[in-house]
Subunit: 460 residues, 2 copies
């Protein structure tokens, strides 16, 4: 009995010592991030010197060269440019959306943006009456007789009662992505969506759309109008259902372009073909600077390389910071990455994505597969002093979909969500919206979690 | 045994039902706040139509009238104007701080602000050599022989390694509050402090100072210079220790003025002299709009009155929203409130303060006295879906100090701290820095907690 007690005591002391060592390690990591990180200045360069960088654009090509340099500067042992072909969609001249009503004596410009991947209107634009709907059910209820020849206007608000803004986005984004095909099915000549946003301003929000040829083979132009413009259109329609809207967009899809994922690697001490990776996406919409979406994620991941350099330790596994290409309108980078990983028998222990903005950290979404969630949930207390201890049971993100399909357990970094959709996919997603400490604390949380995984995670 | 089991089962089912009812109640409260609240538009009015409102100023008097009206509009049964005499300090003409060095051929303007309650420099200003210190220990080490006739410059940075910015503020604010008296003790002719800030910009941060006549009877002028100006001064001092700085301030302290706390009350159903109160402060520094500090707190508390109106229920206790006067430079409002409470035998069940900005909620600091902490900690799970479940063991805030001394258990609302000290006490504390959802979520957390206390809190 005495021996048992002594053993138990020894074990619990060892456990406490290990916990204490982890606390000291985390403090050290956070100190590095809060006093020596370069993620803020890196992001300043990426957003203000390079700026917009949609796949296939000059900006995207410049961003690839910059990312490679930044990764070497941060301490990568090697930087890989991993080729992938990407879509090349161009907006062309600024879009126009005008509301005219003889009855109301109105001739108003509505702030608008073409949606990514949309076709252009005919060269002279389209002018037609407008039919407002709140859902796909509305659309089928109205049917071809009410819709044919008109512009369909999906006037669907964010539900502000949700606590996480992403929930509201999830509910409405289907109208952006497939509204055009669903409207075209009933003979609509163009598609307008209310911007997916939390805030009642005059900023139009772009984002990708897809033509679903299983729904309708006809491709019609699709735009988003600002929250305020949508209010104006909706209110005017009540007063004059016969008002007309003129839409002219000038976008086009050019042939695919060669591009790259940029991968900065720290070689692990175990010298196996095993990897722990964290990525954000390098491409960004053409109307802003891609500061929160997702320059923030890219610079946060690059900082992992510097963390190992400044800690003066090497990870057990090979650790990679990935700047994915083409998240916004194709996911070709994410797919290419998974394809290469499979072809080269790279065993991915876990993969993390950061693509929810450079806001103050809250926690992580974590896959329950391969013992991953059970591992990280034990670090709740450890991460509590850093306000980043909320673990939910679903991980990953768009760029990790292909890796997840290969069975890699994934993690999504989850910062506070309140401000993200105010500026998401708009001209307002600029560097001045970034708070240095929030960005750094997010980076630190990601670096800390990745290092803890390298030290302790035993996949099933 | 069977009976026991049945009882246990019945009890646990009752418990689950109660929990479920509380979840439904909280959802209802949050829905109200996120879809029907007026705190954002109220704050817009207070900050942009009234603006600066330092105690004794015209703005403060206007704010009192506005708060009374806003409280009635929100649904108060009664609004009390509770008189208190407040200090009346005026900045006068804009301050000047110039650095000149013949050796370095420099003549630079340093962005500065007089500290609240400071005396002015002599009418012609003071021009003197500067001695830089990092602490009070530095000051006593240097002694009168090195300090006499010079300007003392407290060049103390925020420690960015702290996770909560308030910790760094707590470490440095002593130089703002008592730097002048400590410097004057050794014969200094003026006092300059590096602005208390997280961000490396050119904005000077004001804030109150006090002359401590137990340290030194002489009162010297005291100013803060911006982070960047402090860098310039410090770097220049290395190159030319004989450089001179000219300081001219024009502030004065006038006789005390009559003012008011504004108290909106919902009468409780129990018809006792018992109170649950929540307050922020109505006064704000003269250089900005007092949006986060503390217009946000005031409008959040006013929203409690509307919450009860929209819920269609009455609290058991009398519930009060308090707009305290004179938090910034005197705490006279907080003191007057406690004095009146005592004189009128008002039993305060608990008191909450919100004065840390209108940022995204994190949780509450809660006093451990009178069973308060033990009560609220049980609501951790209940508040988790609202991201406001962190309870730490110390409550209150400056305006509640006097109540706390009477034995009232206090709570401090704790939003995320990262951005607060970027704009604290500066011209940048303006309405455009407020995010509507963050403000409303803070208000909802406060309202929800207060209502839960009314329903369930049993003081010891």
């Amino acid at each position: 009995m005495k021996l048992k007690l002594a053993l138990l005591l020894a074990c619990s002391q060892l456990f406490l010592k290990a916990q204490n060592q982890d606390s000291i390690l985390l403090k050290k990591i956070y100190n590095i991030y809060l006093t020596q990180s370069k993620c803020y200045s890196n992001l300043e360069y990426l957003t203000t010197k390079i700026g917009p960088r949609l796949s296939g654009s000059k900006g995207a090509a410049e961003a690839v060269i910059w990312a490679k340099k930044a990764m070497y500067e941060a301490g990568a042992d090697t930087v890989i440019l991993q080729p992938c072909m990407v879509p090349h969609w161009e907006r062309g001249a600024k879009e126009v959306c005008n509301l005219t009503s003889t009855k109301l004596k109105l001739n108003i410009k509505l702030n608008c943006t073409a949606l990514g991947s949309s076709v252009a209107t005919p060269a002279n634009g389209v002018k037609a009456r407008v039919i407002e709907v709140k859902s796909y059910d509305d659309l089928s209820d109205l049917g071809e007789k009410n819709i044919k020849g008109k512009i369909v206007f999906f006037n669907v608000f964010f539900n502000q009662a949700h606590i996480k803004t992403g929930t509201a986005y999830g509910e409405t984004v289907k109208y952006r992505s497939k509204g055009a095909s669903n409207a075209a099915k009933y003979g609509a000549v163009a598609c307008i969506v209310r911007s997916m946003t939390s805030v009642a301003d005059d900023e139009p929000h772009t984002g990708n759309m897809n033509y679903d040829t299983t729904i309708c083979k006809t491709k019609i132009a699709s735009i988003a109008i600002s929250y305020k413009a949508a209010d104006v259109l909706s209110e005017s329609l009540i007063k004059d259902p016969n008002l007309e809207v003129f839409v002219k967009t000038n976008c086009k899809t050019l042939p695919d372009e060669p591009s790259f994922n940029v991968i900065g690697q720290i070689n692990g001490t175990s010298k196996t073909n095993k990897y722990l990776v964290a990525g954000g996406h390098l491409d960004a919409w053409d109307n802003g600077q891609g500061a929160h979406d997702d320059g923030a994620g890219v610079v946060q991941c690059i900082e992992i390389l510097r963390m190992y350099k400044l800690l003066g330790v090497k990870p057990k596994y090979n650790v990679r910071a990935i700047a994915f290409m083409n998240e916004e309108n194709g996911l070709r980078g994410g797919e290419a990455y998974a394809k290469f990983a499979k072809e080269n028998n790279e065993k991915h222990i876990a993969a993390l994505e950061t693509d929810a903005g450079g806001y103050t950290p809250r926690g992580f979404g974590v896959d329950t597969t391969n013992n991953l969630y059970n591992t990280v949930i034990k670090w709740e207390k450890l991460l509590q002093p850093y306000y980043c201890e909320r673990f939910t049971k679903e991980g990953g993100g768009a760029d990790l979909i292909a890796l997840e399909k290969l069975g890699v357990p994934c993690i999504g970094f989850e910062p506070d969500t309140q401000r993200y959709f105010d500026i998401h996919h708009t001209a307002q997603d600029t560097f001045d919206k970034i708070n240095k400490r929030e960005l750094e604390l997010g980076a630190a949380a990601i670096g800390a979690l990745l290092h803890l995984l390298d030290l302790y995670y035993v996949p099933k």
